[in-house]
Amino acid sequence: MEVCTAGTASEEILAKIWSDVLRVRSIDSDVNFFDIGGDSLKATEVILRIRETLQVDLPLMAFFEDPTVGHLASVVDELKPETAPRAIHKVPGQIQFPLSYSQQVFWLLEQQNPGTGLYNTARIFQIRGDVEPGLMERSLNELRRRHEILRVRFIQGVDGPVQIVEAGSPLQLAVNDVSSLEDRARDETARRLALDTVREPLDLVAGPPLRARLIRVAAQEWLLCIAIHHAVSDGISGSIFLDELCTIYDALQAGEPNPLPEVELHFTDYAAWERQWLTDTVLEQELSHWHSVLQDAPTSLNLPSDFPRSSEPDRTGRLRSITLPIGVFRDLRAFAQTNGTTQFAALAAAFRILLFHWSEQSDFVLGTIASNRSRSGTERMFGCFVNPLPLRNPLDAGQSVREVLGRETQCVMEAFAHADAPFAKIVEAINPERTSNDNPLFNVALLLQNFPAIARKGRCFEAEHVNFDAQVGLLDLRFIAMETGDGLQVTCEYKTRLFKDETIDMLLDSYSHVLEAMTSDPDQRVAAIALPDSLLQQAATASSREQTRVAVIAGSFTAEPLEEPLSFLLNKIGMKYEVAFAPYHQVFQQLLDPASLLRTSDQSKIVLARFEDWLYSESALRSAHPERLEQIADELIAALRQADNGTTPLIVCFCPASSSISKNLSCDELRNLEFKVAGAFAGNSSVHVIRSEEILDLYPVEKYEDEYAKRLGNVPYTTDFFSALATMLARRMWNLLENRYAAIAIDCDGVLWSGSCDAGQQVLVNESHIALQRALLRQRDAGVLLCLCSKYNGQKVWAAFESNRSMRLQRDDIIATVMGSGTTPQKLASLADELGLELDRFMFLHADPAETSVVEATYPEVLSLQVPADADEFPTWLKHVWAFDRAAGRRDPRT
């Protein structure tokens, strides 16, 4: 290596460090660091190497005052040497090691999400050339022999988890050949095999922490699928993996020994070193910075999601990408250089502006990742070095782009200067409010992968790392930028439970738009950068859904115990509602007074009624007779008509009568009164009646009367009944206000009939199938579209329709079909496309749990329903599908 710098000793040393970090042969003393490939990450690496080599802690800002070797050397000379951390050294004769802090994070996450495979990293290499599977297996085992970290297993030690290095049994390479399948089936099978490989959980206790599969796709084309647990690997490890694997394979293929020098320092040595070096004193210094940065920081960025946020943890994800044209990318690089900053800081500033406009939140924490490979000896070390870093830079619309960029630059530099603080320790020190579903400190991150593309050309084959969608979304949103030959590729990993594909596409396009706007006019205000209308419209829709609404309840009895279960259930199903009660026992007054709490609500109105409550005294109850109650029913109908505005749903829920009134009136008489009121509003678009029988039929409660509470405060029901009532009301509210399902895609076998409609087989349609088909026809009558989705061809399916006289569904009832080959998600997408409907308007009925699971994972917006394996259970099952209630109150005569 030539490092051509004439000057002081410090200048020579600095030039050598720059040369190593930037991989540039010649460094002049006045060349600008950022002009020769430097960025924020590399600047941090230089600072850390200076600390190790010269025992000087170079202030970060010195780098930005004048990023030249000459200037930095003069600053170094002025500073006194300080105590440098000891170098990493070999820990001899030991097989048990502590975990590094980064490892500990992933180990903990694995414990919290056991059996999910969420923290496996996917390394998928596309290989072109001759591959001999046996030789590949030997190469992988040689690679594993070289790196201790690939032979560890994790156990619980006395003071926490430890890793034990073992020889372990040889790694088995699974091999599949899909080359004989036709193109579409081949690609899909290969994808499924790769996905299974990377998502199947790795057992950290039993080991090994990796798995491998080789798939032959064509004569000279292979996929090598490696799943490695994140606790033993990071992005740069992937590059080391491929480099060494190719070298070893070539050597073994030629009958030569592995030419790579033995590894001296292992990650386990680093882990032991880190535990010794990060003493309380060192940590305290680092954490004081994070304390000042993250004080009172918001716990998360409130993103305008397409789907309501659930309290259930769900990390199913997907990837979408765009490539910023090379012109935009060049402009961005030039813009960063002109403004004395790094590409990452510019990308982060643009990302922050985008998120600010989209979410209307000015202060939030963005996450990123520090590679933490700045110490000598770690460059070619296999292991998990990465450390998440929080970046906080509050902005306002009045700032100029240049101001935002300047502050972001400082924020990034300071964060990387304090990257030694392990993320787990930062979280522990800040102790942010969090739920089990959230990542602490940030829910959105930006990564710039500025290490070289992972590709290698060996003697036997060419291999390159390919992006693979492992269907995981660890954060709500994660933007990953990577330089490619075509420009800058930006990939968004996102939770599919929160966002639709098209929203992410709009977001990525908008990011490109913000970057262009930012680079074209850095003096414009943040407010002047407008997002496309489509994205703003999406945000407005989300915001309107997130607004807390009020469900007003007017009861003829004390209904306050309903508040807790109803609020809980509504929240659980993503309906943000508060419950408000009208004054006690003023149902008529609330219905008849246009200024009442109930009448003025334009969101959701509920009336809870028992006829006996209008006969307040015991004597009135004793003398209750049908005519008197009939009169009350008539008055109630008249009052409800007054309150019916034709738009806002008004739910009238009759609750079970007390046993005392049941003595005077027969069940039939009370039932008829409820039917009378229900009949008066049948099919009406605003008043919806629930009869007491319906509640007890769907949610039977053994003991629903509470005599004691009734005497005390006219609270007539037990807690169990109030819970049942809350479920019934939440179900009806969801159907009236949220149920947008417009189509049902049905797979025929096991749903419409027993048996298979495949060649020559007779299908059986029994009473249960008839019941289900009738239920589907009721859905059709209520306006829902029925579609067929089958793996068999249309002729076989229609033959089964036409040959069986018990079939209730007929061809004319079916709006569209998609039959034959292809995966079920592909078929659903095709149906949605054909009908011009969004996928979130589809339900999917299938008897096979594997199919419903695939649909659920691929399109969580589709309501995927598995019908019972035993057709006798259909009638009970049908009663409990909430989405089918749409038909219950809306029998439409257009049939």
């Binding site: 006690y584 026992h585 417009a742 004319d812 005569p893």
Partner: protein, 398 residues
């Protein structure tokens, strides 16, 4: 401004009901009809009088899209080729129509859409009811995704009997009976009026702020209030009301009141028990009121009513009695001493309605305006009777 009606059939008979709900009430100045042959053209291209159009009511019946194809064809034979042709036509028509409707909605004026049932002459003759139903569903689902279009349901409850007029449908594409057109017009007109007026359709129903319906209901209740003097023998009832009344009480909840305090109250103040009955129930003892005369004022320190009798103007009836008592004692004003608690805002609301704002934490109601204020505050003034104990005024107040 006019409401334009665009339909796939002859919709003129809807005119009288829309006139009644929209024109006669001043919501729009008139109605305009687009000939069904020109519906596509209307939706794609603004007509010359577009500036005069307030919005468009679009009525669609999908069987009209295959009328030309089938009107001269022989009755249904079940031939699959013909069926496929019907399917294709319906499918293409749905796509075309949704595009046209989207174009109309993008012009920025409100559009109301009703998918009418395809149960007419063509559907019946060629047995394509289920097929039309299926495509009506598709049409509705697609239209629901358009912004700027309000989808109105076909109101089934109003159509218990057959709404078709297949004879008129065959001859003049008049699909429904006049009664059906009237009901459809009344329903759609109500919805359109609600939107164009920018408020709830309550207004369209003609319900005034004074709520005559509520007044009528209160009158029909025939609330009767009986006031009886309480003494030490009624201590347990007094105790109960003072301890438990939470929403309508001057003193707030007095959960920890002692027997001695109750005795002292009964000694120092006039205390009346309030018994309430109405046509549905005899509520029995439902509250109390305590007062004493101080100079020209009748000072009311205690007033508490059970929740079960609120909303029936019982409080108004009690105030009417207090006005009469004060007048009998030549007082010039009533003075209410209100102590706020966590839950007694309803009492505050009542006091402010009759006495205005507080002065030195006292709500004062001058006797010369008391009756007028009471009548103004009541939804249905005088819809009660009051019977007072003999030792009070020996009178009934109506």
């Amino acid at each position: 401004m006019i409401l334009q009606i665009a339909s796939t059939f002859t919709a003129a008979p809807i005119s009288p009901s829309l006139e009644r709900t929209l024109v006669e009430t001043g919501v729009v100045d008139g109605l305009g009809f687009t000939a069904y042959a020109r519906v596509s053209e209307y939706m794609l291209t603004p007509p010359a009088d577009w500036g005069q159009i307030a919005g468009t009511l679009v009525l669609v019946r999908v069987e009209d899209w295959v009328r030309d194809l089938l009107k001269s064809a022989p009755r249904a034979t079940g031939a699959s080729a013909a069926r496929e042709e019907v399917r294709r036509t319906l499918r293409v028509s749905v796509d075309d129509f949704v595009n046209q409707l989207s174009s109309l909605a993008e012009r920025g004026k409100q559009v109301w859409f009703v998918a009418c049932p395809s149960t007419g002459w063509i559907s019946e003759r060629h047995k394509i009811g289920a097929l039309c139903r299926t495509y009506t569903n598709l049409l509705t689902a697609r239209v629901e995704e358009l912004s700027g279009v309000t989808t109105l349901p076909w109101p089934p409850a109003w159509f218990a009997e057959d709404w078709n007029d297949r004879g008129a449908d065959r001859l003049g594409q008049l699909p429904f009976t006049q009664e059906t057109f009237d009901r459809l017009g009344a329903f759609a007109g109500g919805q359109i009026a609600g939107t164009l007026r920018g408020g709830a359709s309550d207004l369209a129903c003609g319900v005034s702020e004074n709520s005559p319906a509520l007044a009528t209901y209160l009158e029909s209740l025939r609330v009767h209030v009986q006031l009886t003097t309480a003494d030490r023998s009624h201590r347990s009832q007094v105790d109960r009301f003072l301890r438990t009344a939470a929403a309508f009480t001057l003193m707030g909840e007095k959960r920890d009141i002692s027997e001695a305090e109750i005795d002292a109250l009964l000694e120092s103040e006039s205390c009346l028990l309030v018994n309430v009955s109405d046509r549905l129930s005899d509520h029995g003892p439902s509250g109390l009121v305590t007062f004493r005369q101080e100079g020209n004022s009748l000072v009311v320190r205690g007033m508490a009513l059970s929740c079960a009798v609120l909303g029936k103007q019982v409080e108004h009836a009690v105030l009417a009695a207090l006005i009469e008592i004060a007048a009998g004692r030549a007082c010039r004003q009533l003075e209410f001493q209100y102590r706020p608690s966590e839950r007694n805002q309803p009492m505050l609301g009542f006091l402010m309605a009759v006495a205005g704002n507080a002065t030195d934490e006292k709500y004062v109601l001058p006797l010369d305006v008391a009756e007028a204020r009471l009548n103004a505050a009541a939804v249905s003034a005088g819809a009660w009777t009051v019977e007072m104990a003999r030792d009070l005024e020996n009178s009934s107040v109506h």
